[in-house]
């Protein structure tokens, strides 16, 4: 399979709403996606992720900017002339064709010999684990099976890039997790470039080599799942991915890649290579599962709420002027504090991220 990179250059899409106002659905974004990479476009609804995907597929015409697939500019090609294949949110299986004809559709359009089509279809059915289903019609399949047929139909085209438009959103939670790993396995097996649109962060985390966080038409951050989670560049990213405590602090002094900050009268040394200067205010981002709670600790506080959540105990602790959320994992083997109790909390410097 000849997987290709995708290069998006200063891409903009402007819509005009019925009142005549211009709406920038996608606002001057540039991304470079390498061949074989699994990249997720992640963001809240209306952030421009689907529009971007549809521009790559050719269903929407960019207002300005360029899209390259491999080294070929594809802006002016209609969808049927682009080397892309898409898996749709609604699967978009052809209801009047059976499984075989659905999967073979693109190859028939290409006028491949019938024998070759048969071989390819049976091979791909094996890959997705649906051998023997050729004669079934889409409405005789479960949601997960339809999903796999949709994937096979796109995959069989051996496209330069595979596009996914929230493909798992119609499945129930368990199946979603299973299909997620199936998609990842098949993508790796084929070594195909994939661009995946979702608003589900756990999907993005578990699937991607690279996550692109979008908000209101712009890219907030591009990074690996690890970078996105632990080193969010903006408050939006920190807030959108997982749960985060935002604590106000002040930078006291700065060395090359470290800074000393003042938080509630205590000085802490934290890794930092941003451009804030000593004396400036900053925000600390701290994930709730990284905060330790005990009888004694760095900072004194009072438990405002304490809720058993299964795998962890969730606390809200009032700590001076701050309210801190804490997830204490595996509460069964730990002391559980209840509302109104005095506690101490401890922050590990390596779990503090400054923005």
């Amino acid at each position: 399979m000849d997987s290709k990179g995708v290069y998006i250059q200063e891409l903009t899409k402007i819509y005009i709403d019925p009142k005549g106002n211009q709406i920038k659905a996608v606002d001057n974004i540039s991304v470079n996606i390498k061949p074989g990479e699994f990249v997720t476009l992640l963001g809240p609804s209306g952030c421009g992720k689907t529009t971007t995907l549809r521009m790559i597929a050719g269903f929407e015409i960019p207002s300005s900017g360029n899209i390259y697939l491999g080294d070929k500019k594809i802006n002016d090609l209609p969808p049927d002339k682009r080397d892309t294949a898409m898996v749709f949110q609604s699967y978009a299986l052809f209801p009047h064709y059976n499984v075989f004809d659905n999967i073979a559709y693109g190859l028939k359009i290409k006028k491949l010999p019938a024998q070759e089509i048969r071989n390819k279809v049976s091979k791909i059915l094996e890959t997705i684990g649906l051998q023997g289903m050729e004669k079934r019609f889409p409405n005789q399949l479960s949601g997960g099976q339809q999903q796999r047929i949709a994937l096979a139909r796109a995959l069989i085209m051996e496209p330069g890039v595979l596009l996914f438009d929230e493909p798992l959103s119609n499945l129930d939670a368990k199946l979603r997790v299973y299909m997620r790993s199936e998609i990842r396995r098949i993508q790796r097996q084929f070594g195909i470039t994939a661009i995946y649109v979702t608003h589900d962060q756990s999907e993005a985390m578990s699937l991607s080599d690279k996550i692109i966080i979008m908000n209101e038409g712009i890219i907030e951050q591009i990074g690996t799942p690890l970078e996105i989670y632990y080193s969010p560049k903006t408050e939006f990213v920190a807030d959108f991915i997982g749960i985060a405590n935002f604590l106000e602090a002040k930078i006291i002094s700065k060395k090359s890649d470290k800074a000393i900050i003042l938080l509630q009268g205590k000085e802490i040394e934290v890794a930092y290579s941003g451009d804030k200067k000593p004396g400036e205010k900053c925000k600390l981002i701290i994930r709730p599962e990284t905060v330790k709670i005990s009888k004694t600790g760095q900072f004194k506080g009072i438990v405002k709420s304490s809720t058993f959540m299964g795998s962890y105990q969730e606390y809200t602790v009032e700590c001076g002027s701050h309210t801190v959320q804490i997830h204490d994992v595996n509460p069964k083997v730990k002391t559980v504090f209840s509302e109104g109790e005095d506690v101490g909390i401890e922050l590990l410097p390596e779990n503090i991220h400054i923005i």
Binding site: Y15, I16, P18, K19, G20, Q22, A57, G58, F59, I61, S63, D76, L77, P78, P79, D80, K81, R82, T84, A85, M86, F88, Q89, S90, A92, L93, F94, P95, H96, Y105, G106, I109, K110, F137, N139, Q140, R153, A154, M157
Partner: protein, 572 residues
Amino acid sequence: MHFLKRQKGCKSMVVRTKLLSDFKDMKKILRDPILLTTIIFVIIILLTFIIYPLYSVLNESFVENGRFTTSSYIRIFSNRDFQNTLKNTLILGVVVGVLSTAIGFIFAYANVYLDTGLAKLFDIVSILPIVSPPFVLGLSAILLFGQQGIITKRLLGIQNANIYGFKGLVMVQVMTFFPVAYLVLKGLLLNMDPALEEASRNMGASTSKTFLKVTLPLMTPGIANAFLLVFIEAVADFANPMLIGGNYSTLATQIYLQAIGNYDMQGGSTIAVILLSLSILLFVVEKYLVEKRSYITVTGKSSRKRELITDHRIVLPIKFICLGVTIFVISFYILVPIGGLFKTWGVNFSLTLNHFKYVFNIGLKPFTDTIFLSAVATPITGILSMIIAFLIQRKKFIGRSFVEFASLLAMAVPGTVLGIGYILAYNTKPLLLTGTAAIIIIAFIMRSLPVGVRSGVAALAQIDPSIEEAAQDLGANTFQVFTSITLPLIRPAFFSGLVYSFVRSMTAVSAVIFLISARHNLLTTQIMAQADAGRFGVACAYSTILIFIVYAAVYIMNFALTKMQVGQQEII
């Protein structure tokens, strides 16, 4: 467009950005030569066969010796006869509209709300007039209530009873058009959420109070809508006033009588413009004011089945009315084949096959012509209407609103107006079509097109556009997407469009009456000519055969459909 008014300041900007976005979307069209060709083709068809004939009528009515003049309008409006005709038309529209809507409502209510046990029968009876040839009810009315009518003369002993005129016309038109109201109102009642009425009962209102305070107010826009639709049809109707109207002239018949009877094309055109304005006005009111105000969303089925009313005090009277109308309608239909079997209706009731012999002695030409022309028009209408529906529903392009407007306009245009437009537009080169089979076929197509387009659009709206996008994404061009995905998916709408188009063409009168020539003879015009000459037996014989052909065709097409849809249940 009303948002333009609110933002006068930036109006030009709005228009410019709107155009700009149209151009951006045009880029998508321009890189697709098949689509572009299709769009241009459709626009040319609509311009040539809908807009241009209407323009010709307008032109004929306003231009004399190359100069603009309103003299024709002054002449027409100051004419006593015309003033009467206008008044007649409006009165007829209102009376028929009110009566048809009332009967349609009773039938719809009986079918949706009541446990009458006869829902199926009422359904058939109220749809029968829609697929029947136009002269059937009129002929029966004459046989029942005319000078020699079995009810008027035999039963009641009235000499010289006169069915011709206002009363006869109202009777026949109500029977013809109450199904229109019935279908609209039934659709709305079916979509009414039973929970609304249950809520009313739950809060202490009686059945009748619930009906008056909840059901009826919710239906008001629907009732207004049904009324207007019937009004439009009654005013545009040609066949019934022609057959049974007598001295009660209407605008639709006057156009024909002026243009063909008096050779006064300008006069005919002027009346045509007036009728067209009336129809379009009503159509716009219906489409943009009344339809929009509907409280009931027509999409989606009601969540639960309604508990049918079984209370005898309510069911019995309504059932009685519906049964009465049903018997009336059925007897009208039975009468036509019977009427063809008697020697001279009302005078000599001896059985004979002479009328049928006479029909076949004249020759089979009217049959072969009608069937041939309809059979040619039917597939073209089917394909063209699905293509237009596809363009309107799925594509964005400059001229899309024109395509939508033109195909809607064709629905509002009365047949006689289109007919006079066609003779005016196509009697000179380069489009010298008068007297050809082509012009009749085109008239058939344009008359059935709007309904086909509408059902195509409705069918497409139910289908997820990403199915077609998926096909395109897999390498299919627009033509391949349309033939392999779109058309198969809207197959039911396509085939019912074919049936409708065939029936409509076989029974067409109003537009084609202007276009027939010695070379082509149609069954409907034969019926009219025979009835005009007082040969009711022959007219009945023709009608019987026409009904037989139409039903046979519908039956065959339905049979073919079910054959082809074997396994269909597995698919959708």
